[in-house]
Symmetry: C2
Subunit: 147 residues, 2 copies
DNA sequence: GTTACTGCAAAGCTTTTGCACTGTC
DNA sequence: GACAGTGCAAAAGCTTTGCAGTAAC
């Protein structure tokens, strides 16, 4: 895999734990917590521990390969970053009833244009170099609304 | 104060801890953590403990008087909700270098219009009742950019 | 007088760290 | 062979909970 090369460029080694973690993230469309990832990684390769998963995730985030999200339930969630292994840009609807996360990508282009303009002005006004933005909608999914 | 009445409508009692917590939140423009709030509350009234602050914040959030934010540093921050005691709608720039939070309210009207449209369409498409949205920009403040 | 509220201490969770061992390059 | 990476166990940090005492209405 070509990520191998990317690891070495950053001065890191490619190991079983790292490769398996990336594989797990590539093969899911869920929003996995560190422990979720650990369980999957561990079932593929029982030698790999939770600590390694945490350390790998931190590394992948620093390399820009993974994004970390907080949906308000006290544990972080991880996703392959946009563009990595075909992952597409999207935002999230978070159900405050059951915690379900719905991805949507309908308006991301529109949002991109909108935010680009705002970011430009905020950057200038506050002397702030914006590198990233987070958009999340909260509410109730159909099931929870009916209940 | 008229919040007193609001508490009773919800079936809650107004107590020293709750009143002091609201006062602290009203009088700051910082983004206080539970412990920050506790320190201030405790300095006004040393009888009030951290547990009460946590329980009060939870209550205030459920009553819609307080909003809870996560800026990625592992502890939650609390602010008076929009409209309570004159608190105005705003969003946040988060410096990933030093953790500084900058409030801005320049584009919130524009954002409101923009999001209203998107929320309407997402609600319909995903059968999801959107009650709230979160917008945050991440980047580097001037000091951290120079360092 | 009832019932909700509170403080304290202890527990619960996720995440991080120390250290000796292991594996990659 | 050097040095980064790893597992395990322990620690850290924020937040929640149990319980007996206290205060609001």
């Amino acid at each position: 895999m070509q990520l191998n090369k990317q690891f070495r460029q950053f001065g890191h080694k490619m190991t079983a734990g790292r490769e398996t973690t990336i594989d797990v993230l590539s093969e899911t469309d869920e929003h996995l917590s560190a422990e979720d990832i650990y369980i999957k990684v561990h079932s593929v390769n029982p030698k790999i521990g939770l600590t390694t998963v945490y350390r790998t995730l931190e590394l992948l985030i620093n390399m820009g390969l993974v994004s970390k999200f907080d949906f308000g339930d006290g544990r972080a969630r991880y996703e392959l970053a946009e563009g990595i292994k075909g992952a597409t840009h999207h935002h999230h609807l978070v159900c405050t009833g059951c915690g379900r996360i719905i991805d949507y990508s309908e308006f991301v282009d529109e949002e991109k244009t909108f935010f680009k303009r705002i970011e430009r002005e905020l950057s200038r006004k506050y002397d702030f170099r914006i590198t990233n933005h987070l958009v999340q909608f909260y509410g109730l999914c159909k099931k929870c609304e009916e209940a």
